[in-house]
Amino acid sequence: MFVLENISKSFGDLQVLKPTNVEFSVGKSTVLIGPSGCGKSTMLRVLVGLIQPDTGTVRFEGEAMTSQTLMAMRRRMGYVIQDGGLFPHLTAFENVSLMAKHLGWDIPARQSRVTELADLTRLPSAALKRYPAQMSGGQRQRVGIMRALMLDPPVLLFDEPMGALDPLVRFDLQEDLLKIIRTLNKTSIMVTHDMGEAGFFGDQVMMLAEGEIVQQGTLDELIHHPANDYVTRFINAQRIPHV
């Protein structure tokens, strides 16, 4: 799906991504994890073209990402950020269908697709008429996911999608999201700093530190065969409630 060839990025003197080669394969769920500043968000933003790497090439579905190809490529990616990144001046329906409308879909086509997605994400249909300010955080996040899915892209990218939600809402949404990804058989790449979430979603977990991939593998492999002490410390730093 994505191939990163020799990608690096610096902001000023700080190299946030050291030269990196990595591949994200079709149909797999990958979770990027690591502490703040490790480069995981930068990597995701390179994938959607929000950050131009200093060196190297991003290939999406075999084709090099350039300013000419980027726009068409983005229509084949679904991108979800914290709190949904919705447009406050549009209703949920308008948010979800904005791009389809821009591409010339007629109203019935838009409506039936949005209804289908509302069912899939378990968004109450009454919420479709609401503006973001009138919705709960969980609803906004579901609408954000619907918007990402609208054009049925083969890949979904999540940047800390659950970051703004309280635990119960988060728990339900995680369940639903995993089901959606599995059902639709999407490739997904998610950035999180929550180990539990990483294990829940990721076929493979990619741990980064200081701009480098420290280890990639299943969560099991990271726990039982850590590449170094850092991986162990990061995993053990997650506090689990004792009952």
């Binding site: 073209g49 983005r74 950020i81 990144g85 001046h89 549009l90 503006y131």
Partner: protein
């Protein structure tokens, strides 16, 4: 010889724009000066005939005598078959003189002292002899301007005091003022700034003063009456001299030049419409000083309008049979209603056109600024500087570019409206959260669509409030358009200042305030309608 002269002074200020920034006096002068006399300008004497009818454009300065003479010329021209346009109460000699040279007006009345001291001052500096009237006439002819023989009165500057005060202090001549440094002076802005004005007068006579206040010429009389000041500058034909029983101090050192009124007319009028040009020349030798101050008194003190007074004079003096505007109460109400309608339409026109143009230009400028910080610094800097120019100065800068009337006023208002809209467009776009902008980008929208579908709708409340601010500023500022013949609510305000008529001032001020409030309200409604409910406070 007599003391002073009329208001040729303002040209000095106009000629040196840097002064504009320095003097608020200027504003007062111009305000006082203006007021397009819509009433006078051909009410009831509407003139539209065949297209080959000659057009005559008359100008006048913003004091009553000049407006009356302008009306008199209008009557003469109309009687000779011309379609007459009287641009009355223009903001100063420089404006009139430039308008005459450029052909925006064909004729107006000026004064020999003014011609010598102001209009031909440059020629004199370059060595031309303009001491006598025939020398002036010759010099003006080189500029294709014809100067008539004297009209018959000398309206010069003088210093005036209340008769009782002057008698008590035994002041008869200007030199007597030397002995009374305790007197307070209220002098007009023009008089303060003229080459033959106060500074030279004071040094010639050796007058020491404790305090000088500058004020509008017409307010000086009020100040005298209330004893707030004891000495003011007057024009020798002012009706108020008799009315307020003033003593005109003798110019014992013969400081003031003479200011004989003469007609200045474009030479081409004689070839274009000889019968009209000849009709205007009938004004030569027509008016003696008593008649002139009598006519001014009828306007200023009896409340007659200038059209009536000038026509009445011509009917008596030349046995003409001009149709005069009626003086009944009903006719007066009609005139008020007509004026309200006319000034409202003019004002709306100025505001609507300038604001529309400003919106069309300022929003794109705001968008460009929001996309490039360096451009933003330059653009916002430039429009901010424009905003800091006094509106009067900005207006005057437009005259060389656009002449007189609505166009320069619209241009000035346009520049004045830019800043609030540019700034608010910029700010409205800049305040959009990065995540929201990126969400639009990542959807795969091109940048134009991002702007149209996401950024502008989100910035709309800010943009609209910028437009609202611009509209309110614009409605208020448009009143000064009257200074250069653009009409609008400024016209009755400025005429009202000239005639010390509160009712006239209110006829401009109240509708202007109402229009500002209405604009505010209308934009509020528009905001409710245009801005997405998602961006409005939840009820």
């Amino acid at each position: 010889m007599y003391k002073r002269n009329t208001e040729m002074t303002q040209r000095t200020s106009l000629a040196t724009p840097c002064m504009l920034f320095l003097t608020t006096r200027w504003m007062l002068i111009l305000l006082a000066t203006i007021a397009i006399n819509v009433v006078a300008a051909g009410r009831g004497l509407s003139q539209s005939k065949s297209s080959n009818q000659p057009v005559l454009k008359i100008g006048s300065k913003a004091f009553t005598e000049s407006v009356v003479l302008g009306e008199l010329l209008s009557h003469l021209g109309r009687d000779a078959g011309a379609r007459v346009d009287h641009l009355s109460e223009l903001g100063g000699t420089q404006i009139l003189w430039n308008a005459l040279q450029s052909g925006e007006i064909d004729a107006y009345i000026d004064y020999t002292g003014t011609i010598q001291e102001e209009i031909l001052a440059d020629a004199a500096r370059r060595g031309a002899h303009v001491e006598t009237e025939s020398e002036m006439r010759e010099e003006l002819a080189k500029r294709n301007i014809l100067m008539s023989e004297r009209i018959g009165f000398n309206n010069t500057y003088a210093l005036g005091m209340r008769e009782d005060v002057a008698a008590r202090l035994a002041i008869r001549k200007i030199s007597d003022l030397k002995n009374h440094p305790e007197l307070e002076y209220g002098l007009s802005d023009e008089f303060m700034e003229r080459r033959d004005g106060w500074n030279q007068l004071a040094s010639r006579y050796g007058i020491k003063t404790r305090r000088i206040r500058t004020m509008d010429h017409n307010l000086g009389y009020r100040g005298l009456v209330h004893d707030a000041i004891q000495v003011t500058d007057v024009y020798t034909t002012d009706a108020e001299i008799q009315y307020y029983k003033l003593r005109v101090l003798e110019d014992d050192l013969q400081f003031f030049p003479t200011y004989y009124a003469v007609l200045l007319m474009r030479a081409d009028l004689q070839t274009r419409a000889p019968e009209v040009a000849n009709a205007l020349l009938k004004i030569q030798g027509l008016i003696d000083p008593v008649k002139m101050s009598g006519m001014t008194a009828m306007v200023r003190l009896d409340g007659k309008n200038e059209t009536y007074v000038a026509g009445d004079f011509l009917n008596t003096k030349l046995l003409m049979q001009l149709e005069l505007p009626s003086n009944t109460l009903w006719a007066e109400w009609r005139r008020i209603a007509d004026r309200l309608l006319k000034t409202t339409l003019e004002h709306l026109f100025l505001v609507a056109v300038s604001l529309t143009l400003a919106i069309l230009v300022a929003i794109p400028l705001g968008i460009i600024s929001a996309r490039n910080e360096r451009v933003a610094n330059v653009l916002l800097g430039v429009v901010s500087v424009i905003q800091t120019l006094p509106s009067m100065a900005l207006l005057v800068f437009m005259i060389p570019l656009f002449g007189l009337g609505a166009v320069p006023a619209i241009a000035a208002l346009f520049f004045y409206s830019l800043l609030p809209i540019v700034r608010n467009t910029y700010a409205g776009l800049r305040q959009i959260p990065v995540a929201t902008r990126e969400s639009a980008e990542v959807l795969g929208l091109d940048s134009r669509s991002q702007l149209r579908m996401v950024e502008l709708p989100l910035a709309l409340p800010s943009i609209l409030s910028g437009i609202k601010t611009a509209a309110v500023i614009n409605v208020g500022t448009a009143t000064i358009g009257a200074l250069i013949g653009a009409g609008g609510y400024g016209a009755p305000i400025l005429t009202g200042i000239r005639l010390s008529s509160i009712p006239l001032i209110l006829q401009g001020a109240i509708p202007a305030a109402a229009m500002a409030v209405l604009a505010q309200w209308a934009f509020g409604k528009l905001e409710k309608k245009l801005v997405s409910p998602g961006l409005q406070p939840q009820s």
